[in-house]
């Protein structure tokens, strides 16, 4: 079962490279802390999912790289090849000679259709190499110009060409004080278009990762590389093989399908947030020990208090009292209601962990019971040198405030018609903007009324 990754734009390509690096170094490391058989099985499963074998012996990532300018792609290709442990297929990339001016509409309406055939040919080739196509994983930023416009278009093309495949979009939420003036417009356009064609949107917020780097990883001068490496670690903790059906079954052969089925079957609710603990600099790992009850407790409080990392959690937030008759009005403020949650545990003594606290019905919306809403995946194989590691993928009100804020800001700009000519001159009219606003308002309203 294999996943084809589509790396879109500068952001997508840089993050994609870090993700494959993290996956590769995880399976090469001998810190599995589990039996040899388990380790081999994990190794084979990860290889099948993300890499394909070639005669040279160096695994080749199942990825398609897309960007409008050649610089980032060539850097990415050469960095991977230099590592000696994995590389990209030298033909699986598409770029143009010149850039395209950081314009969403340009990316969506001009470059997209123009280069659709070339890009989809590359994707088709990668898909055919898989014995079993498990789905597509696209990586892009939401607010950049061409990456996000082109990315929205490519996602639509993927959906048209593969109507029954799973499509997971990994989306980078821009810094609140970002440099691109029209980033809110771009975000609104990207999100509403992705909502139509994608199955799930997994979001990473730049501000949050930046804080993790500063406070948890103790990095003084935070570069994009540091941010990307944290993101890659978090993604790896979700996508590396796990036993989804209990001990004794093999590693899941359908990770994207399992993820979609447990978290996003409802078409209105597709936004997923990701939390991962513990996060710490590598040189501190050897001196720290963790207990599962402690990790679970922190993760749960991060969920209900909407905390972004394991420091600075507000422990005052409590779930509402059971037995309250009308849940939505009686829920205390700042309480994060969930629709569905997925907890992924990796490492020592994983089979004994008690996850009962996550099955508390007061955590969830009234129309879904905890058996349907909560799932847990486990593996005794430790991930990326962390003796114990827990991740939470949550379909909840995590992103409600950021989404509301972006839509609000974009609307204010739209009301004064600022910068609209950049879009209208490439075919994105005001009605299209209005449709996008309507879609997102609907999403906001659905999430608010849980």
């Amino acid at each position: 079962m294999s996943i084809v990754t589509v790396q879109l734009g500068q952001c997508g390509n840089q993050i994609g490279h870090e993700v494959f690096s993290a996956l590769c170094s995880d399976i090469r490391g001998s810190h599995g802390l589990c039996s040899k058989k388990e380790n081999e099985s994990y190794h084979d499963s990860c290889k099948e999912r993300f890499f394909c074998e070639e005669e040279s012996g160096v695994p080749i990532a199942r990825a398609v790289l897309v960007d409008m300018e050649p610089k980032v792609i060539s850097q990415t290709l050469s960095m991977a090849a230099r590592s000696g442990h994995w590389k990209y297929n030298s033909h699986s990339h598409f770029c143009q000679k010149q850039g395209s001016g950081n314009n969403w509409a340009n990316g969506y309406s001009v470059h997209g259709p123009r280069h659709k055939e070339a890009i989809m040919n590359l994707v088709q080739k990668e898909a055919e190499k898989c014995d079993r196509l498990g789905g597509f994983f696209t990586i892009m930023s939401m607010a950049g110009g061409t990456g996000s416009g082109l990315g929205a278009f490519v996602t639509q093309c993927l959906r048209d060409a593969f109507p029954t495949s799973f499509i997971l979009n990994h989306v980078i939420w821009p810094y609140g004080t970002g440099e691109v003036i029209v980033q809110n417009y771009n975000s609104v356009l990207t999100l509403s278009h992705l909502y139509q064609s994608s199955d799930a949107l997994l979001v990473h917020e730049n501000d949050v990762i930046h804080k993790i780097c500063a406070q948890l990883m103790n990095i003084k001068q935070i570069s994009f590389r540091d941010v990307n490496q944290v993101i890659a670690h978090q993604l790896g903790s979700v996508f590396q093989p796990t036993h989804t059906a209990g001990e004794g079954s093999g590693y899941s052969r359908n990770p994207l399908g399992d993820l979609m089925e447990t978290l996003v079957p409802h078409p209105e609710f597709k936004l997923l947030g990701l939390r991962n603990i513990p996060q710490m600099p590598e040189n501190s790992l050897a001196y720290s020990t963790f207990s599962w009850p402690g990790l679970i407790k922190h993760l749960r409080q991060m969920l209900i208090a909407n905390a972004k990392m394991e420091e600075g959690i507000d422990w005052q937030v409590r779930p509402p009292h059971p037995g309250s008759s009308i849940p939505s009005t009686n829920k205390p403020l700042h309480f994060n209601t969930s629709i569905a949650n997925l907890v992924i545990l990796r490492g020592k003594d994983v089979h004994d962990v008690d996850l009962g606290s996550f099955q508390d019905p007061s955590l969830y919306t009234s129309w879904l019971n905890p058996q349907d809403a909560f799932s847990a995946w486990k593996t005794p194989r430790a991930f990326n040198k962390y003796e114990k590691s827990a991740s939470l993928v949550s379909n909840s009100q995590f992103l409600l405030k950021p989404l509301d804020s972006i839509v609000g800001k974009a609307w204010n700009m739209f009301a004064s018609k600022a910068y609209l000519h950049q879009y209208t001159k490439f075919g994105i009219q005001e009605e299209d903007f209005l449709d996008c606003f309507t879609t997102l308002e609907q999403v906001i309203s659905s999430y608010t009324n849980l």
Binding site: R132, L133, F166, G257, P265, D372
Partner: protein, 441 residues
Amino acid sequence: MQSTMANPTATTPATLPCLGPKGSAGAELRATPSNKPQSLDFWRLLYVLLKQIHGSRWTESDAIDTQIRFVKSALWYHGYDRPQLHQLPPDGSVGSRELLLAFSWLLHRLGLLEQLLARNRVKTGDETSVCTCEDDLPNRQEGTTEAGPEGGLEGVVDVRYLQWLNGRLRFQWHSLHAQHQEQCKLLHKIHLFTSGSHMDQILGHFSVTETDLIRQPENYKQLLHLLESETMQLEAFLEWKQLEPVYWQWMETVLDNMAEEGNIWEAQDAHGEKRRLPEVTSCCPWADKLTGQMDRLSRDLMALQDQLHQLVTQRKAAWWEKVAAREELQKEGFSAATRKIQESAEVKLRGLAFIHAPKKNKMHGSCRLVLRNKHPASKMGFGQSQVSKEPVSAVSATEVIRELQMREASLQRELEQLREECRQRLDEIAEGLEGVICISP
């Protein structure tokens, strides 16, 4: 009879002659309609056979009344509604003659023995199942599902939960689809890599079972055992075929005896055709089917008329579009637009033709996939497997795919129609309510 439970197909033909007119057991059967141990065993025999046909597992420890209930419901399911059988007591004490009738009916009507043989065949691993049957829609009642808040809040399910479940179903179906594609891909690989190696020139390549045997030769014993038991069953079946006419002659005498005893049924043909009794409470399924088909036909004609009208107006609109667009678009854009129009018209016409097409032989059941190298230059996708025309009856996979696609298109049209009806009904309801705007998806 216990030992015969293990391999009923082999023994049924063997036991039948002994139940025939020559055997003493037959004489007893004719004389006394009830014979306790014999009917009990007969119930069990029917139970085992019917379970095998339905592909379920069975154990000898199942209680006799469960077995009897199962046999009755299975017979009813296949259309045997003779009340004398269904009124037999659940302890299995009487009724061996009724059971004999039912058994003969199964033999004739369902091809019981042939089905059992088909089920017990050694698998090649290359099988796939095909079904291009038209669904005979059950009588659709008018005014279905008047959804109203009848039972108060307790009985109401949140629609979001239903949407959730629907989404899960959809994703599971997608996963199944991916699994199927994987199986086809791997099957194609096996066929491709072993082509030219098979002794049978027409087949040309190994099946999955044969390939597995090469990889794990120590399994030959198991395969041999399976093949031997299949051969035994086939030999027993051949024996039965020779003795069959005797059996049916005997059945005629049994039926004559029953007629003499004055049961309430008209003398039917001796092979035990399904009896239609007037006092049966459910309405006559045959007449229902006919009226249903007539309704369908009239609806189809109306739909056809609408579609033709639609097609004409669409054609006109497309033509004017073409004329307008021609002046504006570049050459490539124009030809693309005309191509699209052509394609959509073709699809519609094909769909209409399908409605009128004479009923071709509908395929149903499992078949074996064989890879053919007709056009070595063409792409070998899994859809290209073709089957040769000689000795075995064969059909090209592309034909089957085309048929299924047409069926899909017609079902899609029906879905659109139903959706439109729902939309209209919602609009009507919304108009009645004050201050409510209905925005349909």
